[in-house]
């Protein structure tokens, strides 16, 4: 040991015959992970405490009289660990056999099938055939309230859900009731999970099919789902998520780990609000002309006509953006406004706002924010001003009656009537759905939603985060950054940005708040804006 009795910062041990150096205080489970070995585990979850009660992560440590739980045994200098020795394997097989004593093996009708840790481990290391001769005990299923359904027979009693509610949600509504083979997870009799704001996470952390989502029940098999890294669009916190899609429809949202934003978690509000991404009846093709002159056009024709109209347009331009649009799209709108000769007459966005924030007590970074749109902070950074009330309505009087150019991007104008833009010399509507307020539009251009394009948002922490394309857009819809980028490029006589990264690079050049950021630097985990630039 070094002088002053100070301990070294790292320890070196032998793991499965391989020497590995890890920081002091690393568990054997993580040490094994660092050489690519997954030690099976149920009760251990990186976001929760480790009670070492599932007994499946036991490994052999030379010199220790018994197998040691690798989730709580810390790596020590000179340790020799075997995760795959005959003793460890025999133990795992035995533990798995116990887990299957009362397990119904109803994988064919189980939602978890395909991503189930019990299925995986038994497939890897379990017995070929069961030896049980006695009938299995049967609990049936229990509705926990909220979105959570409990199948007691499938449960392995890892208590992850109980600990999540205790430690992270700090709302101890779940507990282990009874004991031994009669033990089940339950709430306090009729008091369920209704009203809890983060209870949906227990479905994610359940390693087996015991806790399942009612919304997702029997909807899709795990192996049929495509997983797309994305950002939750339902509030301005921007939790990192995955879109799980099948048949070009979003089937569910799952949190994606990011310790600087949302940990392993996301809120129930965000999780539940995905159906709008699947909403049918989208704008299918560009259209030009007002009222009875309205006719469909292809993109080339529409953009050429629009370019001519913009070049000839007189009067100042009123911009209405939307905080559901990416930074790239909003920056494109700003750039277009700047290219117009008449100057700008307002740059606004609207956002529905909740009455309160909803923090996650055990992971205080994660807060369901008041803004129920993903990019209100990006919009503000790009110079858009908040308009309208907390329902995301009103506040567009100026644009509605504006006599110059009006360009609406992404705002569906649900509260506006047919007279919207009647006085405008040129009214351009870029949106996903047709709306009564677009009746006077000279150009109606179908754009993609965030789920159908690549792009970035700025969250309430001042963090730029990228999302990827998870859905195939309607045939003629185009990303707004591409449509606006093409127009700006034509007006400036430069080249159209060919991709979202290129659009982002132009945005970073044009706006000091984004200075120094690159698409690569933002990466999958996001990157913070320079602090001073955020919120003025």
């Amino acid at each position: 040991m070094a002088d002053n009795g100070r301990k070294a910062e790292t320890v070196t041990l032998t793991m499965d015959g391989q020497e590995v150096t890890v920081p002091r205080g690393t568990s054997l489970l993580h040490a094994a992970e660092s050489i690519g070995t997954e030690v099976p585990h149920y009760c251990y979850h990186p976001g929760l405490s480790a009670p070492a009660q599932c007994r499946i992560c036991l490994v052999e440590v030379e010199g220790a009289p018994k197998l040691q739980p690798s989730c709580v045994t810390m790596a020590a200098e000179g340790q020799v660990v075997h995760t795959d020795s005959p003793a460890a394997k025999r133990m795992r097989q035995g533990v798995l056999e116990f887990y299957l004593v009362n397990h119904p093996l109803d994988c064919p009708i189980c939602d978890m099938s395909g991503e189930c840790m019990l299925q995986d481990y038994v497939f890897d290391e379990g017995r070929e055939k069961g030896r049980g001769r006695e009938p299995k005990r049967v609990f049936g299923r229990d509705d926990f309230g909220g979105d959570v359904l409990y199948y007691g027979d499938r449960c392995v009693m890892c208590t992850r859900c109980v600990r999540f509610m205790d430690e992270v949600a700090r709302d101890s509504r779940l507990t282990v009731v009874e004991r031994g083979s009669r033990a089940v997870i339950d709430t306090f009799f009729d008091r369920g999970l209704e009203g809890a704001s983060f209870a949906g996470n227990v479905v994610d952390i359940c390693p087996v099919g015991a806790l399942v989502s009612k919304d997702f029940l029997h909807k899709a098999r795990a192996w049929d789902l495509d997983h797309t890294p994305s950002i939750c669009p339902n509030c301005s916190h921007g939790c990192n998520i995955e879109l799980h899609t099948r048949d070009n429809l979003v089937q569910r949202l799952k949190p994606r780990e990011n310790q600087e934003v949302n940990g392993h978690w996301m809120c129930d509000y965000g999780r539940a609000n995905y159906e709008w991404m699947n909403r049918p009846g989208r704008l299918e093709a560009p259209a030009v002309g007002r009222g009875s002159d309205r006719r469909a056009a292809d993109w080339r024709e529409a953009l050429e006509l629009l370019f001519a109209s913009l070049s000839a347009a007189e009067g100042d331009v009123a911009l209405v953006g939307s905080a559901t649009c990416s930074n790239e799209a909003l920056a494109g709108l700003v750039a277009l406004g700047e290219e117009m000769s008449g100057g700008e007459a307002g740059r606004v966005f609207r956002s529905p706002r909740a009455a309160d924030e909803v923090p996650l007590p055990g992971f205080p970074l994660l807060v369901r924010r008041r803004d129920l749109v993903p990019n209100s902070d990006g919009a503000e950074l790009l110079g858009f001003e908040r308009a309208g009330n907390d329902d995301g309505q009103g506040g567009l009087e100026h644009a509605a009656e504006h006599g110059g150019v009006v360009i609406v991007l992404g705002d569906e104008l649900v509260d506006q009537g047919e007279e919207f833009g009647a006085n405008a010399s040129l009214f351009v509507y870029l949106g996903t759905f047709d709306t009564a307020a677009a009746a006077n539009a000279d150009f109606v251009l179908p754009i993609t939603t965030f789920a159908e394009e690549e792009g970035s948002f700025v969250n309430a922490q001042g963090r730029v985060q990228r999302f990827q394309q998870g859905l195939r857009p309607p045939e003629s819809a185009r990303p707004a950054w591409l449509v606006l980028g093409a127009l700006v490029a034509a007006l400036r006589g430069e080249e159209t940005p060919g991709s979202a990264p290129e659009a982002f690079a132009r945005l970073a050049d044009a706006h000091p708040a984004f200075e120094g950021l690159t698409w690569e630097a933002v990466g999958d985990r996001g990157a913070a804006l320079i602090a001073e630039a955020v919120h003025g």
């Binding site: 282990v176 009874e178 004991r179 339950d186 306090f188 009799f189």
Partner: protein
Amino acid sequence: MSEVRFRNPGWAGNTGEFDLSEADVRGTEYVGERALDGGHPSVAPSLPYMFVQKDPEAPLFEGPYRERFEKIRGRYPTARAALLPALNLAQELRGHISPETMDEVAGLLGLSDAYVRGVATFYTMYNKRPVGRFLIQVCTNISCNLCGADDVLAAFLEHTGTELGETSSDGNFTVAEAECLAACGFPTCVQINSRYFEDVSVDDVPAVLDRLKREVNQGF
């Protein structure tokens, strides 16, 4: 009885052959009333006998019971640690731990209702359903079983006229099966409330029940 064989009466094992009262066996100072406030805090969580009032409507906790509860709470560093004795006290008062009782105890200790339910259901000695004045728990584990515990159990059911776990119509008896009562030297062992009756045979059952009924009549 034709054949006299050695029987260990225990301090509560008077099954009829001995004309001894419990006071004779244990000494009077061990029997009888004890202050309902529990006396010294170190012994407050439990009483030597279950003087169970079994009033399901009894308030939690009032008068001397409130004092006893405060003593219990003060003896433990955390509310969780005080939960078991607090549930004991509630059961002593009400005879069983109903969902309402769990909820009230949770409120008194500042614990979550679900957590209290988890603890109360883990331990079999908390009655989750109402029981009779005497809860007769017959050990049917190995030693007792080898010495005829199944027959003793059947005899108790027959003489009380109940099914397993059911309370007799007069409200006096509930017969239950118990795992090992740690009295394997004296099979069959029967625990009635907090008293052990050892070496109970099928023939002893009527005498045991008679004695219990006598106690009821004496208002004991």
